[in-house]
Amino acid sequence: MKFIHTADLHLGMVMKHVTFASSEAHKERVYEIEAAFYRLLKHVEENAIDYLFITGDLFDHPHVGISKVDAFFKRLANLNADVFIVIGNHDTFLHNKAYNYLNSYKNIHFFSPDNTVVKLEQIDVYGMNTRDYSDATLAQMNQQLNRDKINVLCLHGDVTNPQDDHYLTDVKNLEKTNFDYIAIGHIHKHAFIRPHIAYSGNLEPVDFSETTQRGFIEGELAKPIKATFVPFAKRNFIVKTITLTTKDDQHSLREKLNEVIQPNEQSNDFIRAELTGQINADFKLDQDLFSLIKKDYYYLEFKDKTKLGLNLETLKKNYKDTIISEIIETAEHENNLDDESLWLALRTLIETEGAS
């Protein structure tokens, strides 16, 4: 009785926090996220998995193309495994009657308030969609459990942070029940909250807020449950901080990047380099330079948080009684020293100094 627990596929995801160089690169990533799921299904087949729990957010938004949805479920219907699906906060659109036909697939099981349990020969699988969750139903379910069988509960929502819009209940309430395994979706970072209560997380990370390992949970349905996390993502999102000084130039920037980013990361992962520190006025961190460096990477983006290596006090001293000191003093007077326009004004004046 092998099972796999996955969630938060977010097919059709809009990745707003990654700036792709081209729409092709974006398409590739969208494809990879979909491909990860299809790869998982291959894994299900090759390893003769009996049960597949998909705990919500299969799709990202309600406007996913109908053809795509159809193709997705057709593929699931071809599996030998029984598939249990809870509808998460992102895919409530599956309630639309246009998708009524999904109930006709024999191996795909949905849940509804009228149909909270699927009883199979050896296991009973309970489930509540995000919008249907209630502690009362949970208690009811718990009461009617057949303790001789393996009991699994599928949910989608938050159980640790009451501030979350889709907070279900406190994990303690889940702990009190007698389910053998509680499969939850919603939090993208995988976590065993208890040995038998787990977020599987998503298969592929989608932006720089998801820098930890991604994969699924695989295991044996037994008493007690045996479950482990299997890393599965093709690419990782990695954030590196590079501190620059006034002595740095584009060559040393390259060297510093090479020092902190491993070759396999360079060729495979999504990397964000956050540049900090103070740099020389003539070291221009512009898009041309970035484009040049990016060529060596699968994906590299820069966050330029550097400041010009211009010390306002020194500037004031060096350009005493000049327009520069006048501008700085005005800014000081206005208490407006962090404004970028101040730096731009000074930088432009210094850059055009001596121009005739």
Partner: protein
Amino acid sequence: MKIKQLIIQGFGQFINQSFDFKDGLNIIEGLNESGKTTLHAFIEAMFFGFINPDNKRKTYLEDYDRYEPKTTDVYGGSLIIEHDNTRYRITRNLKKQNRNPLQITKETTGETITDTLDIDPISKTADVGKWLNLPYPLYQNTLSIRQLEAKTKDNVGDLLMTRLSNLTTSATETLAPSKAVAHLESKLQAIGSDRASTKPYAKTLASIQTLEKQKEALLTLHETHLTQKAKVETKKTDLHQKTAQKEALESTIKRKENTLKRNRYEAIKKLIEEKEVKQKHLESLDTYKDFNPEDLESYQKYTHELNTQKERLEEFERSIQETETTVHQLKQTQAEPIDIDTLKEDRRKILELERTIDYQTLKTLKAEQNQQLNSIQALTTEKTRLELNKQKRLKRWFLILPLFIVVIYKLKLRKIIHRLINLRNQKDLIDRELETINTLIDEKKKLLTKYQASSDEAFEDYYEKALENLNLIQTINTQTETLNTLTKKRNTLQNTIKTTKEHLKALEHKYDVKDYEGLKNTRDKHKLYSAHKRDIETLKTRINDQLDGIDFKTYEASIDFEAKPSDPNDLDALKETYETLTTEIQDLKLFIERTESQIETEEKQHLPLETIEQLLHQHESKKAAYVKEKATIEQARKRIEAAMKTIEENFAPVLSEKIKTYLQTFTANTYSDIRVAKNLMFKVYSNQYAQFESELHFSQGTTDQVYFAMRLGMLDALNQSHLPLLLDDAFVSYDNDRLKHVLNVLKTMQKTRQIILFTCHSREHDFSKAINLNHHYIALSETPEI
């Protein structure tokens, strides 16, 4: 800052020499070529290293090559300065590719401070100018003043103007705020406004608009698709039900059809038997099968034709006989044919002759002829009688009178002979005429004789008869021709009759009959044969119709003889229902298929939402970045412009005031005011002419003085009193008075500022002494020591 000592290791003509400078005024006097400008250049080289400040890359000024010593490898030296009350040694090795081109040490401790200084971005060595707060341009254009008149005045002037412009707006010569503003402006322009459609900002806005539209269209489409899909799902249920209904109906229909089939099977069987009977009968009539009904018609036609032909033949025979008789009879009466044309010609001739012959004249002539003959006879007789008388008388009168008698007689005879001749002539004439007429008559007679005509009447009669005969001959000919034609026709008809008979014989032979009756009998048999054959065909068709294109065995095999019969009466109604169901199912399938494929196609035609959103996000970020950048640039520009305004307001009047004071002093109030326009062109107020004059009107000396005043004014305005002033033959064009005025100014200035004055004249030294201006005097020998 003060320059204390020049230690030259190798520079121009100076090798291993040093010069000490003091605070206040230093006068370095020397003739041309004595090395004043070289010392001046050495100071500049020690400060700035001969690096071109106007070039982003490290390049050397022209002076670098000029001052490189020819006789030694050493190029450089040291400058001892006092800065912030500390003595420093600036040592430069000017040789290119030198590892240690610049070293700055504290003179007292020997501590090197080079590394602590900022690096000049061009030379990549310590920035001495920055350290000493002595920017190169400031040094070049204000502190270091050379023989202005010897230089290209306009260039220096323009450069000065630019610096002054910078100065009035930035309070320093080197910063160029208007350039900075222009630079920011171009940055703004590069981003563009929402109306500059070719610029990135407007392009981004346009892209966003397009994407928003695409997104909206996609969402609308998706809504439509969902509705359509829901409809499809309803239809699918419908389809499911209808398919089941159809299947049930199908089995009922099958049973009823089987019953029908069995019934039909019996019917077919009967038809087959009937067909077989007919078939046997047909076989017995097989000999008549090839009868052609047209042959009977032909036979009838030929018989009729034969009769007609025979009748016509008889007619011909009769006509021929009649004509033959006629010809024979005609030939009986026919005379020998004559040449009718000759006859006609002869007749014409006869008639002509008849007309020509004059029967009256003939009668007259004949009478005359008879008369004359009588006369001749009478005369002849007379003559004969006379001659006889004569003879007689002569005989009688023979001797007496013969001659007379002869003459008398002769006379008498002559008269008769003469008359006789006359008569005879007349008679000949008549004879001839008669002969002519008789010839014609003979001719006519001859012609008449030719036709055995004794008279004209007889000839006419003959002629009439000849014409009649001619007609007769023609009639005979015509009849003969008719006869020939008839004979020919008869022969042809005889051949036709022969052919017709052959046709009849052939037909009789063909059907082995003897006559028409026999042929008719054959026809009747054939009709019977055909009728049977038609019947069989009809039966076959009926059987085939019943079998509906399959053979009987297959049909038989397709019947379930075991099945219970079911009343097929309502089969049509059931079938109609079945057809309706089939159509409905087809329509449903078509609808489902079409809608699903339409959805799929339309979805494929549109970018998926995630792509649109991604692009939208990209462009929105871009837009936000542009907006922010624009705002930042705008703000930066405002900062610079505000500062420019403040400085301009505060600085320009101060500068003008300072320049004015210097100018008044230099020119001993000849020029008392200066106005610097916005474009920094200046006009100086001439007290002599009581008006402002532009620089174009000034002498070289005055122009130099104005520029000197402006420089000193700038130095004062910039509050750069701590920096030394280097004057290199700056007063060459000044007259003595003005030089004294300048020296008076310097007298005050040297108290706070070191002044190094290079000159080729002794008057600076002399005048300084005269006005008690203390100074350090260095005389350069013409050929400096080595």
